[in-house]
């Protein structure tokens, strides 16, 4: 058994109405995904300020994923549409700065998609793990 196997740190922002419920459903169905994923509940994906994402990277997160209701299904009708624009531009900008584009992701997961939630997290965790540690956007002072 490898003791110091690298495990990525992944922060997942999930909207309360769809994706958080989707994550709960994944739990109800006992669908495994890595414990690297830590979920933060927000009322709507549009509550996720790009600053939160940068903050997570600063503090040593290796990947950040935002999950919200599918377009058209937002509990607040239009929140996820704003999220979609904000994240499209932010992700593009991070890539432009030379941050690996695979470290950020936006996914639509409904309350019924427990399986999709687990699959998404498995895939994302694997992708991020393959990239290794986030070195380009970390704050050296926060290094443990």
């Amino acid at each position: 058994m490898q003791v110091n196997e690298y495990r990525p740190l992944i922060v997942a922002f999930c909207c309360n109405w769809c994706s958080y419920a989707g994550a709960d459903l994944a739990g109800n169905n006992r669908l495994n995904y890595p414990a690297d994923v830590k979920i933060i509940r927000v009322p709507c994906s549009c509550r996720v300020n790009p600053m939160f994402i940068l903050r997570a990277f600063q503090r040593g997160a290796d990947g950040v994923i935002i999950c919200g209701c599918h377009p058209g299904d937002c509990h607040y009708t239009s929140g996820n549409y704003y999220t979609r624009r904000r994240m499209a531009l932010l992700f593009s900008m991070l890539d432009y700065l030379g941050i690996e584009r695979e470290r950020t992701r936006l996914e639509w997961v409904s309350a019924a998609e427990g399986a999709k939630f687990a699959a998404t997290m498995n895939d994302f965790a694997e992708t991020v793990a393959a990239l290794g540690e986030n070195k380009r956007l970390e704050d050296l002072r926060c290094k443990k």
Partner: protein, 331 residues
């Protein structure tokens, strides 16, 4: 090389001041050297006639000053706006940052402004005179009394070489002829960066941003940065930062700032002009502008008053975040 002369502007300012249309004039004041020009409020005709200057170094965008200078003004403030400045002007009006009624705008055409550091790169230090002569600047230094003629193409600032518009989008009165929106090559540099590998881009930005000294000049000059309290000054914002502690902080500052002005930035180029470290900050803003144009359709902030900025708008059929790179790679 400016098409409009100082005399035309001065006489316009003096007559508007004397006929009571305006009570003060925001303009450029001559400094120590031929190239140093300070934005200034003029209250008397004598002052204007003596110290008002209009030359190839009048790059400062006055729009932002209107936020503070119109606060306690009796009557109207006269402001001279170059075409690019008028976009900032409209954007500020869209955001209700000052009262249109307290400003009298005279649009003035602009043939591009000179970047003095580019001049010095050619002429060397010790400039005593830099005058417009034909298609270039005639520069004299302490070390060389024979004027050196430098073509404008070599010394115009980057933003002027890539001028996006010679058209005024706001004015009460126009001096000279109206120009056109220009199909500029301003995104070429962005595209060049985009075509690099991720590692190359990272190295590029590390190199550029590591020079940042967090003087905040880019923010403080930016017409889109007129927040009552900036997040970087607010200990409770989660983004407060004051000094470049390591590479992350500078990136954080510039990314957040670029994001905050995304969709509101008119690409006036003041950030890059004032940066004491010559960081090409406009390349961040232009990236957002280019992306917005490509993802959501062409959008020029400040083209009209009251436009809905792309980040406070949406379309049901918007591009998915995961398709962003596909879109770009296919371009």
């Amino acid at each position: 090389m400016q098409k409009i002369t100082r005399d035309q502007i001065v006489s316009k300012a003096v007559s508007l001041l004397q006929d009571g249309t305006v009570s003060a004039v925001l303009g450029w004041r001559q400094g120590e050297f031929c190239y140093d020009v300070t934005p200034s409020v003029f209250n008397t005709a004598e002052d204007i006639e003596a110290n008002f200057v209009w030359n190839d170094f009048c790059g400062a965008n006055f729009s932002k000053y209107l936020v503070s200078k119109t606060k306690n003004i009796d009557g109207k403030l006269l402001v001279f706006l170059k075409p690019c400045d008028t976009y900032s002007f409209n954007q500020l009006l869209t955001e209700h940052r000052f009262n249109r009624e307290s400003v009298y705008v005279v649009g003035i055409p602009c043939e591009g402004m000179v970047d003095i550091s580019k001049v010095k790169a050619v002429s060397g230090e010790g400039i005593v005179c830099a005058e417009s002569k034909g298609a270039g600047l005639s520069v004299t230094t302490i070390y060389d009394e024979n004027p050196k003629e430098i073509p404008y193409a070599e010394v115009l600032s980057e933003r002027c070489l890539n001028c996006k518009s010679k058209k005024h989008v706001a004015y009460d009165e126009l001096l000279g002829d109206e120009g056109e929106v220009i199909d500029s090559a301003r995104f070429d540099e962005v595209e060049k960066l985009e075509s690099m590998t991720s590692e190359e881009r990272f190295a590029f930005w590390q190199g550029e941003l590591s020079r940042c000294i967090r003087c905040n000049a880019c923010r403080d000059v930016c017409p889109a940065c007129t927040c009552e309290k900036c997040v970087f000054d607010n200990p409770n914002s989660g983004a407060e930062s004051k000094a470049p502690t390591n590479s992350f902080e500078e990136q954080m500052f510039h990314v957040i700032r670029a994001f905050h002005v995304a969709g509101r930035c008119t690409d006036c180029g003041e950030c890059s002009r004032v940066c004491p470290q010559n960081i090409p900050l406009h390349l961040l803003n232009r990236k957002f502008i280019k992306d917005i144009n490509s993802f959501y359709g062409d959008y020029q902030a400040g083209a009209e008053v009251g436009m809905r900025a792309p980040l406070v708008d949406y379309d049901l059929g918007d591009l998915e975040a995961c398709d962003v790179f596909e879109r770009r790679d296919s371009e």
